[in-house]
């Protein structure tokens, strides 16, 4: 099965196409989406096992020889990210049954999600820098549909902003790839790495590295390019917000990590110094935002920005602890952001508002929601043994090893701010006298149905934290490939 690594891309695509034939039949759409995602999940898990057993999987499409055709490469990092993506999507889709509304379901909501997953998994798997642009476009076009679907006034306003920002950054992406191609004469990522090592990263390559940082910084919401994110992400309904928050920025982060460990490793003093400085600024900016708002959505959205900074700061250290911390934290953040967004979606559903000042006393009426939220909040802040702890510990360890004491302190301080920002939600929404705030009438059964996928994600994130010991071999594999590009290169250019 040499095509195995393509299955997590092809299967969602196939099911998205099939869904186009059942536009009006919502039951069929729901069923087919879940079946498609389950099969994709099995394929992805099998892929993880294969990568673990046989090392990096690579294939060059159309049977062309390696540097000339489009290569697809699945190392442990890609395989883990692909698996997490499908897992989160599965839960979000189940949550959508009760949260998104029939009108949206009738207008290609599920096909759009599956097309987006195709793009995301493709971007995680591709071994060709131009092809990565293509997969970025696939996921972006699907996300344009998701952000505008429903056509509320606020959505229309924010989607114009979103599309403009992304069209500009995509244009810059192509230009940057063209610059890179004009210098090294190849688009295959393994081959680019070899060629850059041969010419020893002259100044022009460093310029291109900064350009890539700009491009992926817009997608991954790095300081100061995250300006579009808080507005645009708060416009669409909660399930879409969950997908965007948990998955889309992570594609940008993945692209930065991949290019900054595979291509631009010969002048790390400048490129990685810049990356780590920007990452720290991102954390500070995110912290300010997370404390400034009384709106549930905004607080968690700014927590995305903080997480982006933490992950990239870890990746910028370029030592084993830092990178493996970044990988740990990346996957933790996907799971925990998914869980948190689904939970605040339920809070908003129950209270009918996203304004913290208008809530209170939910602990008396919706106790399970409160406890689940508390666990997720502690996980996000990184209280041991929950999932955020290991990643942050490793990142800080990496920073100390690299001698960046100042950065480590900022990371540790940001944990406190994160804890404060999410506990504030807990205090305002769950404590207090339930009689003061009048809750709108909501269906208890819908509440329970919405809780199921959210609880499942919280449990998964707890398992991710508690089961760190079992995950370490996988993470080590992911880190090894990032730190030793030769493993990646050999897998692609083996012939």
């Amino acid at each position: 099965m040499i095509n195995l690594l393509l299955f997590p891309i092809i299967l969602p695509f196939l099911f998205a196409i099939i869904l186009l034939f059942f536009k009006e039949n919502i039951r069929a759409q729901r069923l087919l989406t879940v079946i498609g995602l389950l099969i994709s999940l099995v394929a992805a898990l099998y892929l993880v096992a294969t990568v673990k057993a046989d090392g990096v999987q690579a294939i060059t499409l159309g049977s062309w020889p390696a540097p000339f055709g489009i290569s697809m490469v699945s190392d442990m990092l890609s395989a883990l990210l692909v698996t997490t993506t499908i897992l989160i999507t599965l839960f979000v889709v189940i949550y959508s049954f009760n949260a998104i509304g029939e009108e949206r379901e009738r207008h290609f909501y599920y096909p759009a999600i599956l097309f987006m997953i195709t793009g995301i998994n493709g971007a995680f798997t591709t071994g060709d820098i131009f092809n990565m642009f293509v997969f970025f476009e696939v996921l972006l076009i699907a996300s344009y549909l998701l952000i505008v679907l429903g056509g509320e006034k606020r959505q229309l306003r924010e989607s114009i902003k979103y599309i403009l920002v992304n069209v500009i950054s995509s244009a810059l992406f192509v230009i940057t790839v063209a610059y890179l191609y004009s210098v090294v004469g190849t688009l295959n990522m393994a081959d680019i790495s070899v060629k850059i090592a041969e010419i020893g990263q002259p100044g022009i390559i460093t310029v291109i590295a900064v350009l890539f940082l700009l491009v992926f910084g817009v997608k991954g919401s790095l300081f100061p390019l995250y300006f579009w994110l808080p507005g645009s992400y708060s416009a669409p309904p909660i399930p879409v917000l969950t997908l965007f928050g948990a998955l889309l920025t992570k594609v940008g982060i993945y692209a930065i990590i991949r290019t900054y460990t595979l291509f631009f490793v010969h002048d790390t003093g400048f490129t990685h110094g810049l990356l780590s400085a920007l990452a720290l600024l991102t954390i500070v900016a995110g912290c300010i935002g997370a404390l400034a708002y009384f709106d549930l959505k905004q607080i968690i959205i700014y927590n995305i920005v903080i997480a982006v900074g933490v992950i990239l700061f870890g990746a910028a250290q370029m030592n084993e602890a830092g990178i493996s911390g970044a990988v740990f934290y990346l996957i933790h953040d996907m799971l925990i952001k998914g869980a948190l967004f689904l939970l605040i979606g339920i809070i908003i559903y129950v209270t009918g508002t996203s304004n913290l000042r208008k809530m209170g006393g939910l602990m008396k009426t919706h106790a399970p929601l409160g406890w689940m939220y508390l666990i997720a909040a502690f996980g996000l802040a990184g209280i041991p043994p929950l999932s955020g702890f290991v990643g942050k510990l490793l990142i800080v360890k990496g920073a100390f090893e690299a001698g960046d004491v100042f950065g480590s302190i900022i990371i540790l301080a940001s944990s406190l701010v994160v804890l404060l920002s999410v506990i504030r939600i807990f205090v305002y929404a769950f404590w207090g006298d339930p009689t003061i705030v009048e809750l709108p009438k909501t269906n208890r059964r819908t509440f329970r149905k919405m809780m199921m996928p959210a609880v499942a994600l919280v449990i998964l994130s707890v398992l991710f934290g508690v089961g760190t010991e079992w995950l370490v071999p996988y993470m080590t594999d992911a880190t090894d490939v990032l730190l030793q590009p030769s493993i990646y290169i050999d897998a692609v250019l083996k012939e």
Partner: protein, 140 residues
């Protein structure tokens, strides 16, 4: 407003078929010379747009009673199916097969599985473009 467009309508009835046949020609030419599914599809869409200009949306929908969303879906299935065929032979995705066949009337012809993929592209382009034009034009 009723306009007198007898000339346009009469010419269109003829020209539509010329453009359509030319688009098929371009589609088949595509394998070795410029052309292919994408351009062919766009030309066909051009022909349909000409029909829309000369007549109106309802007439054209009656003349071409397809759901163009479904056409897009069939095209995507065709394209993905052709590319995925390679999975069953355990060769890399997108690997195509071709050979020369002697057919009656055509003589020696080289047939490619890539052509089926291109037919998929053709259908996707026609389906998507016509859907867009119908949606935008339908609101006016």
């Amino acid at each position: 407003m009723k306009t007198n467009d007898v000339i346009l309508q009469t010419t269109t009835k003829l020209v539509f078929f010329i453009i359509f046949l030319f688009s098929i020609h371009i589609f088949f030419a595509g394998h070795y010379t410029p052309g292919g599914g994408f351009v062919g599809g766009l030309l066909t869409t051009g022909a349909i747009v000409l029909l829309l200009l000369a007549f109106d949306l309802k007439t054209v929908q009656k003349a071409l009673p397809f759901n163009f969303t479904i056409v897009t879906g069939i095209g995507l299935l065709l394209a993905l199916g052709t590319a995925a065929g390679s999975i069953f032979f355990n060769v890399p995705f997108f690997t195509h097969a071709f050979d020369d066949f002697t057919l009656p009337l055509f003589g020696t012809t080289s047939l490619h599985t890539a052509m089926i993929f291109d037919a998929g592209v053709y259908l996707v382009v026609v389906g998507a473009a016509v859907t867009m034009i119908q949606t935008i034009g339908g609101d006016a």
